[in-house]
Symmetry: C2
Subunit: 151 residues, 2 copies
Amino acid sequence: MALIEPFDDHYFMKKALQEAETAFELGEIPVGAVVTVNNRIIARAHNLTERLHDVTAHAEMQAITAAANFLGGKYLTDSTLYVTLEPCQMCAGALYWSQISRIVFGAADTTRGYQKMGTQLHPKTQVTSGIMETEAAQLLKRFFIERRNLN
Amino acid sequence: MALIEPFDDHYFMKKALQEAETAFELGEIPVGAVVTVNNRIIARAHNLTERLHDVTAHAEMQAITAAANFLGGKYLTDSTLYVTLEPCQMCAGALYWSQISRIVFGAADTTRGYQKMGTQLHPKTQVTSGIMETEAAQLLKRFFIERRNLN
């Protein structure tokens, strides 16, 4: 029998998804993120663009700021970001500056994701995608259906 | 004799340059920005990445947040950003989301500027470049020379 490893990508993406659910409850596009160092969560955030009237308040941006604040330095070279949706140009650009070691995202954003837009990550950054993508995408889909029905 | 128009691009870029000088005095890479609406400055900011230990604290990002806060809405569709250096991927990505009507920058950033990196601006956004570029570039050059001599 294999040993159970509780702190895997699925575990932390589930935490990011809980942040996305909090955003959903606030009427925000449901995207959530956590940052880890050595399997410990050092930052949690969710999208707050509507509440703050601020296009820069994406989950990833807040998570980067919070993680750097926790670490006391601006570089995230030993950190992993878990985010439920593929980062946009802005967030990928911020991750570039942070020199983050790893990015794990859930659902792909085929229209405004950094891959489609051609945004460059830092050469040191490794990327894993598709972790809990169905759950992340379904939450987004449910949000937009409900919002359409309200209007 | 032509009428003097005091509120031209040169006038507002000079204000952005004053912000860059403030950054210089704080030991920050000297980049400054202002946001205007109808020839009125509604936000001023300078780079604070070192002081805040935060890669997201570029002058433009703070100016976008401050301008949206002033306006009470997240879109900057009637605003102009003046910034002394060409925006990076992150800042251009934020400007994309803001739908800002116009960007005026001073010096080009041929290595990490958004043009070299291929970052997409919003289709509604107009760009003017090269305003006071010599002054902006010289301030940056002086900063890096002084910093090199300190190390």
